[in-house]
């Protein structure tokens, strides 16, 4: 049993496992962009992410002790073989002078200096930017935080609805496509606006909403694309917008109201072309079909009316309050122009955790890349009245840079000695 546990522990703490899992994730994620299957929701893909998460946690646990020791109690070399040899040099001098000058020099450069006596001399280790060792560790922890945040997202919910200006919708009536939620309040759509800038460019779509409980307003605010409205952990995103025309169709003194969805155009010359691309909307319980188009920024509506067995459709343009007779028997009146908004609602309790993980990731990368630990160590061997100090610097990943630092220390030491 113990052996099995050790095998599992070894498997999950192995960097090889991590690299292989990462490779598999890259392969599956890459393939997923070419095929129409949703591989990202599949059990296999989630399993890979799960194993990666376990691998990161196991690696972090197994490396914690060693890392702590490395930072707080770096090993002092006991023999010359333990002195870093890639960047290495020796210097001669008297025992006490060399020790004092070395300690003074390294401390003045910001190094944390530790020494110990050896059988016949002394040895030292000095570290600078030692907390830089935490960088890679923080990066790994950040991943775990992000994955936890992503998993917490499954506890959230999302849905959406379309509503006209003035409409009040109970939260519990909103169709959800993920998760479930009940709230004891309603959402009122106070106003909907398709706003344009002075240069004719669309600014944004704005919906002003109120949160009501038993008629009392709990909160009120705007939502527009990129600026969601938030209340009680639920965010309201502006996702769709539609213009509508409320028309009355009168035939043989029988009146019927109909809400017609409108397209938009800025170019009057393009009206017939634009109308040809729209879907016909059937007027309820009748043989009449309508297509509608509104002129951008102007209250003019073009309606294309189709009647079964009447051949070519008739096109009329109306402003609110106006009416027209089509096919000599249908009186079409434009009562008012209105609009509808499409709002998406989302609640994801994992989002703040994901942002925390992202911030931690950046912090870890900055520490890891730009707070590189420097370690110098050496051993002094006495010969008669003087002796030789063999010292070296850990080469790290930027040999040239570390070499320059080491040469600076050495030069200063040689100058004083």
């Amino acid at each position: 049993m113990k052996k099995t546990n050790q095998t599992f522990w070894h498997f999950f703490t192995s960097m090889k496992t991590g690299i292989i899992i990462l490779g598999l994730i890259v392969l599956v994620a890459g393939l997923g962009t070419f095929i129409s299957l949703d591989v990202y929701s599949s059990v296999c893909f989630k399993l890979l992410l799960g194993i990666l998460c376990i691998n990161i946690i196991a690696c972090s646990i197994s490396r914690f002790k060693g890392l702590r020791k490395r930072i707080h109690h770096p090993p002092i070399p006991r023999n010359i073989n333990a002195v870093p040899h890639k960047i290495c040099s020796s210097i001669t001098g008297t025992n006490d002078d060399l020790f004092c000058n070395l300690e003074k020099n390294l401390r003045s450069r910001g190094y944390r200096f530790t020494s110990a006596e050896t059988d016949d001399g002394w040895a030292f280790v000095a570290q600078k930017y030692r907390f830089g060792y935490w960088g890679a560790y923080i990066v790994h922890i950040a991943f775990v935080i992000i994955i936890i945040g992503a998993m917490m997202g499954t506890l959230g919910f999302s849905g959406g609805f379309m509503a006209l200006k003035g409409e009040v919708i109970s939260f519990n009536q909103i169709p959800l496509n993920k998760g479930s939620a009940t709230k004891d309040y309603e959402i009122k759509i106070n106003s909907i606006e398709d706003r344009y800038l002075a240069n004719g460019e669309r600014d944004n779509w704005y919906t002003n909403i109120s949160i009501l409980r038993e008629g009392k307003e709990l909160a009120r605010g705007n939502t527009s694309v990129n600026h969601p409205f938030s209340y009680d952990g639920v965010k309201y995103y502006q996702s769709r917008y539609a213009d509508y025309a409320l028309i009355v169709i009168e035939k043989n003194n029988i009146k019927q109201e109909e809400l017609v969805m409108l397209g938009q155009t800025s170019n009057e010359k393009e009206i017939s072309n634009e109308l040809s691309h729209r879907f016909k909307q059937r007027v309820d319980k009748s043989d009449l079909y309508v297509k509608g188009l509104k002129l951008q920024n102007r209250p003019i509506v073009y309606l294309q009316i189709f009647v079964t067995d009447k051949g070519e459709p008739s096109v009329v343009n109306l402003t609110p309050g106006q009416n027209r007779l089509v096919f000599d028997e249908y009186k079409i009146t434009l009562l008012e122009l209105t609009n509808a908004t499409g709002l998406e609602i989302k609640s994801d309790p994992g989002v703040p955790i994901v942002w925390l993980g992202s911030g931690t990731l950046l912090l870890g990368l900055i520490i890891s890349f730009y707070w590189r630990p420097l370690l110098v160590s050496g051993i002094f061997t006495p010969q008669d009245r003087s002796g030789t100090l063999l010292m070296g610097m850990y080469a790290g990943k930027t040999i040239k840079q570390n070499e320059a630092e080491f040469n600076g220390i050495l030069k200063e030491l040689q100058r004083i000695n």
């Binding site: 960097m15 690299i19 990462l22 994730i25 890259v26 994620a29 890459g30 997923g32 962009t33 070419f34 990202y40 890679a136 992503a150 999302s158 460019e201 669309r202 600014d203 944004n204 779509w205 527009s224 694309v225 990129n226 600026h227 969601p228 965010k235 995103y237 996702s239 998406e344 989302k346 994801d348 989002v351 994901v354 942002w355 992202s358 990731l361 950046l362 990368l365 900055i366 890349f369 990943k397 930027t398 040999i399 040239k400 840079q401």
Partner: protein, 282 residues
């Protein structure tokens, strides 16, 4: 005023393309002939091209009343601008003119792609949809320019490294790269640039996620662009991990840097032209 700016952007594009092309040719001549004058002319044309590139971007900013970061055409222009800026910094700081022979083909080919494949519709200044009106998007694209630009330079360094590393096997290559600094210097420089680019790529992904959360309420939707930027990030993470933990340097690191840049190019071009998704505008 607008007419002048439109002419400036159109003419500027061809002047920049021409300057980058001439710079590239002179960098090649310099590599072959070792003539100092060729190197100086190459640098001069690079600077002329970069100034032209800057003028196009400034003119477009004035015309559009926003930073030119909203579509594929504008991104390519800023990508070239960032790449050449980072290259010029490296060249001046490290006196590494030979690098230009491998970096300058990137902005030249990218601008050629613009001229050959993009129609006037894509080049015209257009209104941007509300979803693109976000400071997070600006930050997202700005960080992408510096990240991709630095990856382009690291690609050039990786190619130069491989040339230099193979100089022992061919006398022709040896003659070309005789004045190129030591391979250890190239390797370390490439590593430092990848560190910078990788930090920025992380910012690109995070700022993109924040923007997506504000715009659509989903910080990650496995959109092809997102997925490929993550793949690119993982490739470079493997590069850094392998270097830090297993001392992967030299040729293996150079090849990984080349593969990483291929992923960068696919994230930008491949995804836009082969895979549909939320990033259809850039």
């Amino acid at each position: 005023m607008n007419q002048t700016l439109h002419i400036l952007t159109s003419a500027g594009l061809y002047i920049t393309l021409f300057a980058y092309f001439i710079a590239m040719v002179f960098y090649w001549f310099q590599l072959i002939t070792k003539n100092k004058l060729n190197g100086q002319l190459a640098t001069a044309f690079t600077v002329i091209g970069w100034v032209g590139n800057t003028i196009i971007l400034v003119a477009r900013t004035i015309l559009a009343h926003r930073l030119p970061l909203a579509n594929g055409y504008e991104f390519i222009l800023t990508f070239c601008w960032g790449t050449v800026l980072i290259y010029l910094f490296i060249q001046l700081h490290y006196r590494l003119k030979e690098l230009g022979a491998f970096v300058m083909p990137i902005p030249f080919l990218l601008l050629s792609f613009v001229v050959i494949t993009m129609g006037s519709n894509e080049m015209i200044v257009q209104a941007i949809p509300p979803a693109l009106k976000s400071n997070w998007l600006t930050l997202h694209v700005l960080t992408a320019i510096f990240s991709y630009g630095a990856f382009a330079v690291s690609f050039g360094l990786a190619v130069l490294y491989l040339f230099k590393a193979h100089s022992g096997t061919s006398s022709v290559i040896k003659a070309f790269v005789s004045r190129v600094p030591d391979i250890d210097i190239l390797d370390e420089l490439s590593y430092k640039i990848i560190l910078f680019a990788f930090s920025f790529l992380t910012l690109v992904i995070i700022t993109g996620a924040i923007w997506a959360e504000y715009a659509w309420g989903t910080y990650w939707s496995w959109d092809p662009k997102e997925t490929w930027s993550l793949i690119t990030w993982i490739i470079y993470a493997v590069y850094l991990h392998a270097r830090l933990m297993h001392d992967w340097k030299g040729k293996r690191a150079a090849w990984l840097a080349i593969i990483g840049f291929a992923a960068v190019l696919f994230t930008f071009f491949g995804v836009n032209y082969f895979l549909p998704g939320l990033h259809s505008y850039a």
